[in-house]
C-alpha cells in the first residue's frame, strides 16, 4: 500500500512537469498551428536561468593569499560571495532561495525569448508544412542546446532547494502509519503544488479574461475573429510568449529535482509530445490529464513487482499507451474533431 502511494506521488510529480511542458506545446499548436520541437529547449533555458541567477548570486570576491600556495604551486585564492560580504544574513538568504527567486528572472526573460522566437522565426513558417516546422524548430533546439553547452559545459549543475524544504517529510508517520514507510522530499511536493497553481493560472487566464476569451475564439476560428477587427496575430504572439514562460518556470523549479544539463529539454520533449498526442492535439485539458496519467503509469511500470513479470515495461509503457489510445481513439483522450486530421 505504501509503495503504491509513493508511486502515485512520484507519478503526480513527474506528471506535473510533463503537463506543464505539454500545456505550452498545446497552446502553441492550438493557436498558431505550429509543431514546436524547440519547446523542450525553452524548458531547459528556464532551468539555466536558475543556474545563471545562482552563479550571479554566488559571484565571489577573490583575494590572493601569497603566503599559501595550491598543490600546483600557484598562490592560493580565497573566495567569499559578494552578497554575503555586502548584505550578511540577507545575502545568505538570497543565495539559499536562488531557485524560487529565479522565477523573477525567468518570467521576463522567457517572455522576451518566446516573443522574439515567434516574431523572428516561427511566423515565417506558419504557411509551411508541419515537416518544415518540425525541422526548423528542431534545428533551433539543437542550436540553443549547443550554446548552453558551450557556456555551461556538458555536466549537470546541481541546484539546491532552500534549506527549509531541502529534506523529506515522513508522510506515513503524519498519517498515523509506521514511521519511515512513506517518505517524500518536500521540494517534490512544492513542485506538485507549483504545477497545480501554474496550470490553474493558465486556465483561469484563458477562461476568465477578455484576452483569454479572444485567444480561445481565435483557436476555434481565427478568420472570423480577424474579421471582427481583432489583431489576433498579436495575441497569438503573446500566447507563444506565455507558453515559453510556462515552460521556463517549469524548468527553473525542476532544477533541485534534476540537476540541469544542456540535454534535459530533449529528454522531456519526446515524452511531452506523446502526452500531447495522448491528450488530444489542441486540447489543453487533455494535455494536463494525459501528463498526470502517463506520469503515474510510468511510475507504476517501474515497480519491481511489475517489472519482474514484464521486464523493460517501464521503458515502453508511455509509447504503448500512446499506440493503444491512437488505435482506439485517434483524436486522443480529449481531442477535438478536425484537429490534425487533414
Amino acid at each position: 500500500m505504501d509503495a503504491i502511494f509513493l508511486q502515485i506521488l512520484n507519478g503526480l510529480d513527474k506528471g506535473g512537469a510533463y503537463a506543464l511542458i505539454a500545456l505550452g506545446l498545446t497552446l502553441v499548436f492550438g493557436t498558431l498551428g505550429v509543431v514546436n520541437f524547440a519547446h523542450g529547449a525553452l524548458f531547459m533555458l528556464g532551468a539555466f536561468c536558475a543556474v545563471s541567477l545562482n552563479l550571479l548570486l554566488n559571484l565571489e570576491k577573490v583575494v590572493v593569499d601569497p603566503s599559501q600556495t595550491t598543490p600546483w604551486g600557484t598562490p592560493l585564492e580565497i573566495r567569499t560571495p559578494y552578497l554575503q560580504e555586502w548584505f550578511g544574513d540577507f545575502g545568505t538568504w538570497m543565495i539559499d532561495y536562488s531557485v524560487p527567486l529565479s522565477l523573477l528572472l525567468v518570467i521576463p526573460f522567457m517572455l522576451m525569448v518566446g516573443v522574439a522566437m515567434e516574431r523572428g522565426l516561427i511566423k515565417h513558417f506558419y504557411k509551411r508544412t508541419h515537416a518544415d516546422q518540425i525541422l526548423v524548430t528542431f534545428g533551433l533546439a539543437i542550436v540553443v542546446q549547443e550554446i548552453i553547452k558551450a557556456n555551461f559545459g556538458a555536466n549537470p549543475i546541481p541546484q539546491a532547494a532552500p534549506d527549509i524544504v531541502a529534506g523529506s517529510m515522513d508522510i506515513g508517520a503524519a498519517l498515523g502509519m509506521d514511521p519511515n514507510t512513506i517518505v517524500y522530499p518536500y521540494w517534490r511536493m512544492v513542485y506538485l503544488f507549483f504545477a497545480a497553481v501554474v496550470i490553474g493560472g493558465v486556465f483561469a487566464f484563458l477562461h476568465m479574461t477578455t484576452f483569454g476569451m479572444v485567444v480561445r475564439a481565435g483557436m476555434h476560428d481565427r478568420e472570423t475573429v480577424g474579421l471582427m477587427g481583432i489583431d489576433i496575430d498579436r495575441r497569438f504572439t503573446i500566447v507563444f510568449g506565455l507558453a515559453a514562460v510556462v515552460a521556463g518556470m517549469a524548468g527553473a523549479m525542476y532544477t533541485p529535482t534534476l540537476p540541469p544539463d544542456y540535454h534535459m529539454g530533449m529528454d522531456f520533449l519526446v515524452l511531452s509530445f506523446v502526452v500531447v498526442v495522448v491528450g488530444g492535439m489542441g486540447s489543453l485539458g487533455g494535455a494536463v490529464a494525459a501528463g498526470f496519467l502517463l506520469g503515474i503509469l510510468q511510475s507504476f511500470a517501474s515497480m519491481t513487482e511489475i517489472k519482474s513479470f514484464l521486464p523493460g515495461i517501464d521503458q515502453i509503457i508511455i509509447y504503448l499507451v500512446a499506440v493503444v489510445i491512437l488505435l482506439v481513439r485517434p483524436r486522443g483522450l480529449l481531442g477535438q474533431k478536425g484537429v490534425m486530421e487533414d
Binding site: 505504501d2 509503495a3 509513493l6 508511486q7 512520484n10 507519478g11 510529480d13 513527474k14 595550491t70 598543490p71 600546483w72 604551486g73 600557484t74 553547452k149 559545459g153 556538458a154 555536466n155 549537470p156 549543475i157 546541481p158 539546491a160 529534506g167 523529506s168 515522513d170 519511515n180 514507510t181 512513506i182 517518505v183 517524500y184 522530499p185 521540494w187 517534490r188 533541485p256 529535482t257 534534476l258 540537476p259 544539463d261 540535454h263 534535459m264 529528454d267 510510468q298 511510475s299 517501474s302 515497480m303 519491481t304 517489472k307 517501464d314 521503458q315
Partner: protein
Amino acid sequence: MSADNNKHGVSRRDFIKTTGGIAVASAMPMFFVKNAWAEGGFPNDPGKAKSITLGFNVPQTGAYADEGADELRAFKLAVKHLNGEGDGGMLNTFKPSSLKGNGVLGKKVEYVTGDTQTKSDAARSSAKRMIEKDGVLMISGGSSSGVAIAVQSLCNEMGVIFMAGLTHSNDTTGKDRRKYGFRHFFNTEMSGAALAPVLEKEMGNDRVAYHLTADYTWGWSQEGSIKKYTEKLGWKTAEAVRTPLGAGDFSQYITPVLNSGADVLVLNHYGKDMVNSLTQAVQFGLRDKQVNGKDFQIVVPLYSRLMAQGAGENVKGIYGSTNWNWSLQDEGSQAFVKSFGQEYGFPPSQAAHTCYVQTLLYANACEVAGTFNPCGVIEALEGFKFDGLGNGPTEYRAEDHQCFKDVLVVRGNMNPTSQFDLLEVVQITPRAQVEYPADMLGGELGPCKA
C-alpha cells in the same frame, strides 16, 4: 545512339560510365588507406617521416564531454612533454624510462582528435578515419566501456595499438580482450576487491544491499563484482534493478528501496546518471533513514572527481573506489598535478591521469622496442613493470593486457578545503589484494598480425 545498342538495353556510353564509376569507387578505399600498410609491413609505418601522429578519440559531445575535455587536456600535455616542452611532468619520475624528451624514436609527436560522442558507432567511425586518413599509429581515449570495447576491436582488426582511456568494465580486458588493446585503468573486479574490506570495517557483515544498475556492459560488470565481494562478506542482496542509461529522474526506482528491507543502496551508475541518482536518493531521505537498527548507507563503487563536483554536497561521507586522485602525495602524482595545474589552473581528473600515463607508456614501449611496429610495441608493453606514474609499482600483465597496481578507496570529503578537494583517500589497497588469475574473466588475446 544506335539501334544496335538499344537492342541490348545498354549503350556504350552507359557501359563506360558504369565501369568507370565502379573503378573509381573501388579505388577510393585504396586512396584513403594507401599509407595503412606501407613499406614497413605494418599499418601507417612513418618510414623516414620526421613526425608521427597519434589519435585521441574522446567524447567531445554527449554525457561524458567534460571527462573527454579533461582527457584531451592530458593528451596535449603528454605530447608537449614527449616533445621536450614544458616541465616534463611525469617524464621526470617514470622509471624505467627510455623517453628522452625528443619525441618518440627521434620523431616529433603530433596528434589528431576525434569525437566518440559516447556512442560505439560514432567512436568506431572516428577511429577508422584517424587510421585510414590521418595515418595514426596509436589510438587512445574514451570514457565508456561500450565505446572502448568497440574501438579496441576495430583497432585490433586494423592492426593499430589501442591504449584505452577510462573504461572500467571487466570485459575490456576480460572476455573482449584483444592483442592490440591495453588498459591502464582498473576494473570492476578490482573495485569490488578493494572496497569490500573497507565496507566491512565501516558497515559490518550483516547488511542488505539494493543495487540500482546502469543497463549496459559496465553496469552489469560492476553489479556482478560488487555482489560477489559483498556477499562473500555475508551481505545479502535484496534486489538488483536495472535502470535505463540517462534515465534522468530515478525517483520511481528509488522509492521501492524505502520499504525493501535493504540498509545499503549501491549505485552502479556513472557520470550524469550517478549525479542524478545520488542527488535524488539523498533527497528521499535515505541517508537519514534507520533500517534493521542500522544507519542507511549509500555506496558509489566508481567515483570520479568530476562526478563528485556534479553531485555537490550529496557525496559527503559516501564510499567508493577510484583509479587515481590528485591529492596523492607520491612523486609522480605531484609532478603531474603541478604540470597540469600550471597549464590549466585546476587539478587533473582520474580520466586525465590514465590518458596521460597511457600516452607515455606507448611512447616508452616504442623506444624500448626501437620500432613503431605494433608487434614490437606489444612485446615491449606485455609484462612491463614500471613505477613513478602515480599508482605505485605497476605491471602490464602479458596475459590480458590489464595493468595491476594499487587501488584507491575514497570517501566524499566531509570538510573540503577547496572546490576540488572532494574526495578523501581512506585506503590505498595494495596491488596484491586486487589481483586475480588471468583466465578468470575469460577471453583470448589472439595473435599479432604484422
